[in-house]
């Protein structure tokens, strides 16, 4: 396969870390660091993702290093799997650095049941989840919202759902930021964005979003697993979705607004999709408020799906089918954080926050071992639970990867194997598949992604997060 990344000079600093020095291109303001071992390096240089990493390093106020996680691949403007921090006082904020699906993220639910004890119920569970969780954009939401309710979702996040009986009091502490970003400003979200989101709360969406029924196959760190409430053989559910059309419209709106406003701030870009303005500017503040509001919508979306999943588990498994939230973490966000005694806006696009032990933003019960980090694999492959580390705070602004990372385009994946064959392959391995559009299975097939075991191995060896448990799928629900 041809390497298309521009001829960038690089230095290998360790078996899992490569540096692209600031001298690689004259407009770089900081150096870039790429987490990849010898096996993954050829894969991360197959597309333009490293050119995009370099582009990000040219943005005003960028500080430290721009990081690429081992699952990095080409995105729009910023690469997916990219982490960059900008000084809050003089740096920028960029919608492209967050992505279209604001607060796309992952939530892990754990039952108290052993998967082997309900083996004959897995098909019923997956089938009922598929029927009960609206997947596509047009099937309507599980929770239609009035204007006032939508504004409360955007402004308050999951706390509103406690009032509505869709979340328990003990759910909120196990969600990043307690399921509510206080900087949210519903008034900064356009009517168009609200119109797109109004009937989408509690829906899964298309693309790579899914709900999986899984089993804990292996535990690597007994202490952390026990603290997270996980044990070998346990039945779990992983939810991967985000802010749906509402978040997409917020991104679309602000890319255009910033694209128009940039010249007033003297910002010139190597790529228009990097549109940005200073964080302290009128446009920057408005975007941050709108983005946090969209993120609250995403937390609520995963919460309503959780509520639906709980009802399904109770229906199929009875009173033993209770589901507890292990954690819920975003992987498309910009957050105001303090690193190295400096207030910075950390952009994580396709990257998971991975705060180490003792951090005050990690839920108290988990603080001893570090924040839970979830790395879903591609459809039909393993997912991982990891724990954030102290080293990550210095080595990646407290971040780890977010998945396996695409290795080829959707079109290329379809050429290799049709969806019908992908479905047969999964079913042959005993995985129950519910996906109404078989051709789409081909786009998300395992061969379209990097090897999640190899990606997580680099994260673990680099010390960005340490492996706690490996989960394998029993059933998958897709749009």
């Amino acid at each position: 396969m041809t390497t298309v990344t521009a001829n960038l000079p690089f230095v290998r600093l360790s078996p899992v870390l490569v540096e692209i020095p600031m001298s690689a291109r004259e407009d770089m303001r900081v150096s870039a660091r790429v987490y990849a071992d010898g096996e993954l390096w050829p894969k991360v240089t197959m597309d333009h993702s490293l050119d995009q990493v370099v582009n990000v390093s040219t943005l005003p106020g960028v500080t430290g290093y721009v990081y690429a996680m081992p699952d990095v691949h080409e995105g729009y403007g910023f690469p997916v799997g990219g982490v960059a921090a900008f000084k809050a006082s003089e740096g920028i904020v960029s919608p492209g650095g967050v992505g279209y699906d604001i607060n796309c993220g992952v939530r892990l639910l754990a039952s108290e049941l052993r998967a082997s004890a309900c083996h004959d119920k897995i098909e019923s569970l997956v089938h009922d989840l598929s029927r009960s969780i609206p997947s596509g954009m047009g099937r309507g939401g599980a929770l239609p919202l009035s204007d006032t309710e939508l504004d409360r979702v955007l402004g308050e996040g999951c706390s509103l759902l406690v009032d509505r009986g869709l979340a328990g009091d003990d759910d909120l502490p196990t969600i990043e930021a307690n399921g509510s970003f206080s900087a949210a400003d519903p008034s900064a979200v356009s009517v168009r964005a609200k119109n797109r989101g109004r009937n989408q709360l509690g829906t899964l969406g298309s693309g790579n979003h899914f709900v999986e029924v899984q089993v804990v196959e292996e535990v690597f760190d007994e202490l952390a697993a026990a603290i997270f409430g996980l044990r070998k053989g346990q039945l779990t559910v992983l939810i991967h979705t985000g802010s749906r059309g509402l978040g997409h419209q917020v991104c679309t709106d602000y890319v255009r607004l910033m694209d128009t406003a940039m010249s007033r701030y003297g910002i010139q870009l190597p790529d228009r999709e990097l549109a940005c303005t200073p964080f302290t500017s009128t446009e920057g503040k408005a975007y941050f408020g709108a983005m946090c509001a969209a993120a609250n919508f995403a937390f609520c979306n995963r919460q309503v799906i959780t509520h639906t999943a709980r009802r399904v588990f109770e229906r199929v498994l009875g009173s033993q089918g209770q589901l507890r939230i292990v954690y819920d973490v975003a992987h498309n966000m910009a957050k105001l954080e303090e690193h190295e005694q400096e207030l910075v806006v950390v952009h994580r696009k396709g990257a998971t926050r991975a705060f180490g032990p003792g951090h005050p933003e990690t839920p108290e019960p988990y603080r001893r071992v570090g924040q839970p980090v979830f790395i879903p694999g591609s459809m039909g492959t393993a997912s991982y639970v990891l724990a954030g580390t102290e080293k990550a705070m210095r080595a990646s602004f407290g971040s780890a990867c977010h998945g396996a990372g695409r290795a080829m385009s959707r079109r290329a994946a379809k050429r290799i194997k049709p969806g019908s064959q992908v479905r047969k392959d999964l079913e042959a391995r005993g995985i129950v598949v519910r996906c109404p559009r078989t051709p789409e299975l081909a786009e998300e097939a395992p061969h379209a992604y990097k090897d999640v075991d190899a990606v997580v191995d680099v994260v673990h060896r680099a010390g960005l997060a340490r492996k706690v448990a490996r989960l394998i799928p029993l059933g998958v629900v897709k749009a």
Partner: protein
């Protein structure tokens, strides 16, 4: 340029309908889009079509461009009602965006977020 925009709209509508047969209704509506430049106009035009399709369950399929300049377009559109709003395409991006004349023919290239 009007032909390019009409063609781009048709291409998007085919993606949204995923090849499903659908009957056009009698509605004719007008859409207007303004943008800072020609490339942005193409992105905003396609995003407008996406917005109409998603929020109204009505996929525009026929585009009669009435007025067009480098920074604005006005068109009359006809469409087909759909039971489910299209879910394949979520946004039009600026990634590798190009509108250029090649051997006397205007060509545009956009990448959609799926």
């Amino acid at each position: 340029m009007g032909a390019l925009f009409a063609e781009a709209g048709s291409a998007l509508s085919q993606l949204l309908l995923r090849g499903a047969a659908a009957s056009r209704d009698d509605r004719v509506r007008e859409i207007m889009v303004s943008s800072p430049d020609r490339e942005a106009l193409l992105v905003d035009w396609l995003n407008e079509i996406l917005y109409v399709a998603e929020t109204e369950c009505w996929v525009p399929v026929q585009f009669d461009v009435v007025e067009i300049s480098e920074t604005s377009v006005r068109a009359r559109i006809r469409g087909v009602p759909v039971r489910e709003a299209p879910s394949l395409v979520k946004a039009t991006t600026h990634h590798r965006l190009q509108v250029e004349e090649v051997e006397g023919v205007l060509q545009g290239e956009v990448i959609f977020d799926l």
